[in-house]
Amino acid sequence: MLQEFEFLGVLGAITLTIPVVTLIIAWLLRPKKPNPAKQETYESGIKTIGDTWVQFKAQYYIYAIIFVVFDIEAVFLFPFAVALRQLPLYSLIWAIVFIVLLFDGLLYGWRKGALHWN
């Protein structure tokens, strides 16, 4: 197990240096003449009004919830998919029940209009 992940460790360490080196090179090369006008928040030339707070639609959060749930579903389905050919036939029914139960949840959200973006 460890052997297969060794490469990931080495690659991770090397990739970690790429952005660092890039930023250092850029830091050495680039001009540094900051002034307050440059550092203002860019809003197409208009002065920022109020706090940086946008109306966060709860819709985003609902999508995130559905995503989490289906992510976990995938965690259970992947081992099932690997073992599929060796499992007894009736286990197929249980897997379908598993998927359909979750789909019911999605269907509920659908009916309530939670999936709809407006």
Partner: protein, 104 residues
């Protein structure tokens, strides 16, 4: 064969557990408390996997438990944060000290 003794894992897990409990006890914000709980659940998972590896590596149960703990953690986070969002909408706060009344 095993370069790391079991007690190291358990110690690290205990540390993570304690930090998580501290977070859950001391944070004012409900989201902070929830993050503390996530740490606690992860500490539990380290224990489960370490025991699986060191005591019963041929039995897959340890990993099954760990996956189910992850599932429960995710479900808890989803619903917990939804409750926080709903509360925030009504009361405009996520600080638990201000949320101790059922009605105000």
């Amino acid at each position: 064969m095993m370069p790391i003794p079991l007690s190291w894992w358990l110690t690290v897990s205990a540390a993570l557990f304690s930090i998580g409990v501290y977070g859950a006890l001391s944070r004012k914000n409900a989201i902070g408390i929830l993050m503390g709980i996530e740490l606690v659940l992860n500490a539990v998972n380290i224990n489960l996997v370490a025991f699986w590896r060191y005591i019963a590596p041929t039995d897959i149960s340890g990993q099954v438990f760990a996956i189910i703990v992850i599932t429960v953690a995710a479900a808890e986070a989803a619903v917990g944060l939804a409750i926080i969002i709903a509360l925030y909408r009504r009361r405009q706060t996520a600080v638990v000290d201000d949320l101790d009344l059922l009605k105000n």
